[in-house]
């Protein structure tokens, strides 16, 4: 029974996908959207069932469907594992997924390919579920690549625009760089343990006596995979570009779920990472650096979605910082809260964009507070949450990360704190530019300003509520999440006793957030500053505005050499190789042409050759010794 249910949980979105692919065009858009939403909702409901069951008996549920790939030292089955970690992820993936599907029914209503959009979204949910509930690394890898594929399809959803397609392609390829790392990690682990099953690997590792060097290599490889998927340095550049996709996609895939797959994977493999402290250090440093760099870029972006994108990267950086410090539960906590408020923010921004008919530049917004009150308030709540204002969800989770960082390494703590302050600043910059002061767009846009329909606002409200109170799952003193995750984590999380020390840290964090807000307030409300046009930006700001020229750097360092190498191979080396290989023929032909001259037609010459031949043979045989 459970097996069937688990299969339904997995396949329900896939059924939605199939329906939308084959019949989506024939039925009305409403039905198409409804089917898409309901199938995800089914999964969500089933997840709740399983969650309840697990919460009750605490026993993870593992099933094996069929044999899949076999290599010399082990067989891989297609198996599912429903334990605490996967169910937690399932809950918010399918939950937020349902909300975003709902949102999309309205948001995408004008698009001719809406059925396709839902098909892709359903497919994404299907792959995300696969990723989460796979019982071994390779099943996870199916989901891992599958979500990458859906991300590609959805970023390039408006396929007529080639720059969107470029963004999609970039996302896919950068992900694939990570995927190669992931695969190598899988290979190393497979070689070491003769299994890729999480449970079995964990058991094998607990036996100890493993070569830490190889383990480190595996961990590093896996981390590279995580970097690609979760947009960490140096592979983060695809995520901002991925904002080319429709906003619900950005909310679902590029904020709430897919990008957290890296965190999920690292958490899943925590038993491995715990044994490799060097790699953990690297993860922490990369995370902190990503948080800082992304946040700093976010400071000056003018595209509303780009700001959110960089904020996502920055927040993911914070999560990786937590992972690197061994605080998996903290990272997971932040993933969940982040999913709430960031999804809300994206959907909110989507609502704004929807209201402005596709305008994304904040310089052309402003004063929307009155026109779109629900959007404004929900986004405000989420912004407060992300900025880390007490008592919203973000405060609790981010504070924990900072606390952990403080415990381990003061430098990391400083960096994370600065990133947090920046976050507060640019988020409020976003709010101020969008919702306060006067509208800076065209008259026509102003005329059409309106609050979005209820299908859009309902998810916003729900998410805003969650963003406000989501911190409750792991309050200091009521650490439900920590207990819940205990079975899947190796290192036991020691309880913080809330002492003066901790309160002080909380205070500092809060003060920092407030400082950021005030800074933004003084600049954008007091001074009513509106960011300059692109051409007018100069100096260091320009560098930041252009994202430190990282894309250009990559183009210069990798893409261009690759292309010119390809051109060189194609136009020079290939023909040359061909010529070299066939020089044999050319030479033979050349000799033939010359040889024809020898055949002069003169009998005298022929006789000469004859006699010389005789002479040579006789000389060789009888004279030469």
């Amino acid at each position: 029974m459970d097996k069937t249910l688990a299969l339904v949980l997995l396949l329900s979105p896939f059924a939605g996908f199939l329906f939308n692919v084959f019949f989506g065009k024939k039925v009305s858009k409403g039905i198409s959207g409804a089917i898409g939403t309901i199938t995800v909702l089914v999964s969500f409901l089933l997840s709740i069932c399983f969650f309840a069951q697990l919460n009750q008996n605490g026993k993870p549920f593992e099933i094996s469907l069929f044999d899949w790939i076999s290599v010399h030292n082990f067989k891989l089955d297609f198996g599912l594992l429903l334990d605490q970690l996967s169910l937690l992820w399932l809950l918010f993936v399918t939950g937020i997924g349902s909300l975003i599907h709902l949102y999309s029914i309205s948001y995408m209503h004008d698009d001719e390919n809406m059925h396709k959009f839902f098909a892709y979204l359903n497919l994404f949910v299907f792959f995300m579920i696969t990723l989460v509930i796979g019982s071994n690394l390779l099943v996870m890898f199916i989901g891992w690549e599958g979500v990458g594929l859906c991300s590609y399809l959805l970023i390039g959803f408006w396929y007529k625009n080639q720059s969107y397609n470029d963004a999609a392609k970039k996302a896919f390829i950068m992900n694939r760089i990570g995927d190669l790392g992931f695969l190598i990690g899988i290979f190393i682990l497979g070689m070491m343990f003769s299994t890729l099953n999480f449970v079995e690997m964990k058991q094998a590792l607990s036996a100890g006596n493993e070569n830490t060097l190889i383990l480190g290599a595996a961990a590093l490889a896996l981390f590279i995979g995580a970097c690609g998927k979760s947009a960490q340095l140096p592979l983060y550049t695809w995520l901002p570009d991925a904002m080319a996709g429709p906003t619900p996609v950005s909310a679902l895939i590029h904020a709430a779920t897919m990008v957290t797959a890296g965190i999920f994977m690292v958490t899943r493999m925590n038993f491995l990472f715990d044994l490799t402290p060097y790699i953990q250090n690297i993860i922490a440093i990369v995370g902190a650096a990503t948080a800082l760099v992304a946040a700093s870029i976010g400071l000056l972006q003018n595209d509303i979605k780009k700001v959110l994108a960089y904020s996502t990267v920055s927040q993911l950086g914070l999560m990786f910082l937590a992972l690197g410090l061994g605080a998996y539960n903290v990272a997971v906590f932040h993933v969940i809260t982040h999913a709430f408020f960031k999804a809300c923010l994206f959907l909110g921004s989507g609502s704004v964009i929807h209201g402005l008919h596709g305008e994304q530049d904040m310089r052309k917004m402003g004063g929307l507070r009155k026109a779109m009150p629900i959007t404004f308030w929900t986004m405000m709540i989420s912004t407060l949450a992300i900025a880390g204002i007490f008592p919203f969800a973000g405060f609790w989770s981010k504070d924990e990360i900072l606390m952990v960082a403080f415990e381990h390494n003061k430098v990391l703590w400083v960096v994370a704190s600065i990133a947090s302050i920046m976050t507060a600043f640019y988020m409020f910059r976003l709010m101020y530019l969008t919702f306060f002061k006067d509208f800076r767009g065209t008259e026509e846009q102003k005329h059409h300003l309106h609050e979005s329909p209820s299908l859009i606002t309902i998810p916003l409200v729900i998410l805003a509520v969650l963003a406000a109170i989501g911190g409750a799952i792991n309050l200091p003193g009521n650490t439900w999440l920590n207990y819940f995750l205990e079975p899947v984590l190796v290192t036991k999380h020691e309880e913080h006793t809330l002492g003066a020390h901790e309160y002080m840290l909380m205070g500092i964090a809060l003060a920092g957030a407030v400082f950021g807000i005030l800074w933004a307030y003084s600049k954008y409300i007091k001074q009513a500053f509106v960011p300059k046009e692109d051409a007018e930006i100069v100096g260091f700001s320009k560098t930041i505005y252009n994202k430190y020229y990282v894309d250009e750097f990559y183009t210069f360092l990798i893409v261009r050499p690759l292309n010119s190498l390809s051109n060189f191979f194609r136009t020079t080396l290939e023909p040359a190789l061909g010529k070299v290989v066939f020089s044999f023929g050319t030479v033979a032909n050349g000799i033939g042409t010359q040889g024809k001259k020898l055949q002069t037609g003169s009998v005298g010459l022929y006789l000469f050759a004859f006699v010389i031949g005789i002479g040579a043979i006789i000389t060789y045989l009888f004279i030469a010794k």
Binding site: A588, G595, V603, Y606
Partner: protein, 460 residues
Amino acid sequence: MNTLIAISGLGVFCLIAEIFNLRKLLVPVTILGLLVILGLTISEFNTPELFNNPMYNNMIVVSKFSVAFSSLFIILTIFLVALSGDFYKEHLTKISDFIAIKIFLLAGAVAMISFGNLSMFFLGIEVLSISLYILAGSKRLDLKSNEAGMKYFLMGSFASGIILFGICLIYGAMTSFDVEYIKSLSRSAELPIWYTIGVILLLIGMLFKIAAVPFHFWAPDVYEGSPSMTTATMSTLAKVVAMATLFKLLDVLNADIDYKFQIVLAIVSVLSMTVGNIMALRQNNVKRMLAFSGISHAGFMLMALLSMATAASTLLYYTAAYALAGIASFAVIIYVTRDKENEDIVNFNGLGKTNPLMAAILTASLLSMAGIPIFSGFFAKFILFTQTITTGYLVVVIAAVINSIISVGYYFKLILAMYTKEAAEDKKAVPFVYHAVAVVAILLNIVIGIYPSLVMNLLN
């Protein structure tokens, strides 16, 4: 021996037939006669009492070897005579002469392969050569034919002189022309150096006949200039005869070929292949191209002589494969170029469309010469390679392989012309005899290709 008498008789019959004005019947009757002779010859194959039975003072030795090769010669002659009917229809007054000369040529060939005495060998080769001189120059009003005849005659009689000198020196050393005697003596006694020189000169004369480098210069010119029918004879029958005789001479005269001479053979073989193939690459005249191809095949056949113990059957197979493919291709070439000025490749343009069957046959025969399975040319080369490797001449085999690759280049030039170029003229009717000869020849080729034991087991 009976074969030789019968063939000579048939030749005389051809001459008499003209007197009684039986020209129309001549070709069929001759073919019939040849078939009967073929039957007679084959019947000798399994009559061991004929072997080693000195008759006519050991002038002619009948052995499996000679019978097998004689049969091959007769088969080739049947094809050639069959083609002659149409080819010489413009020269009906001379047709009996032509046919008679061909039959006598066959007689010379049979004498060469079954000689038991060097005088028979010498007379045989002279009958063969003189017939060919005549055939080469037989288009008396055509300058090219004259030139070919002249060149062939000059060089051929020069070679005859060399051969004769060789025989003379052998005689001086042995005091006999009988090969059995020479064979036994050559193993035992301490021989004067004349003997070896004589043998070498004799072999050089034969190398000239098979057109091995550096004695090959005549071949392309003569092949090109001669009437196509003669070219066909030279490149199939004459070459095969000379090759078989060369083998027999080596076998008879020099019971143990010394290492140095093997080196010479190997070098000549490799040179022949290489020069033949490379020169063929740039030829436009098909007959000339086949002449060079023939030179390279001579090189291949020489390779067989490096392993004398097994050379007989290999050589029989190779020559059969080569000659049958040659007959098939010449049937097509003669058909295509019979009313053309020359034999340039352009004449073959579009043959694949205007006459697919003929094109297919020419393709098949060229593929056989190139050594592509399932045609017998492949097996021929393969067996040759295997044996040569066993003997230890790996380098020669590698050279041979490289040459096979080169050869594909020019064979395909012709194939390409047939299939990718547009035809200049419309389809024309093919006289039945061309089809018949070409089809039968190529079928025989394929049959021995699919079942090589048929030929390979004959001489074991």
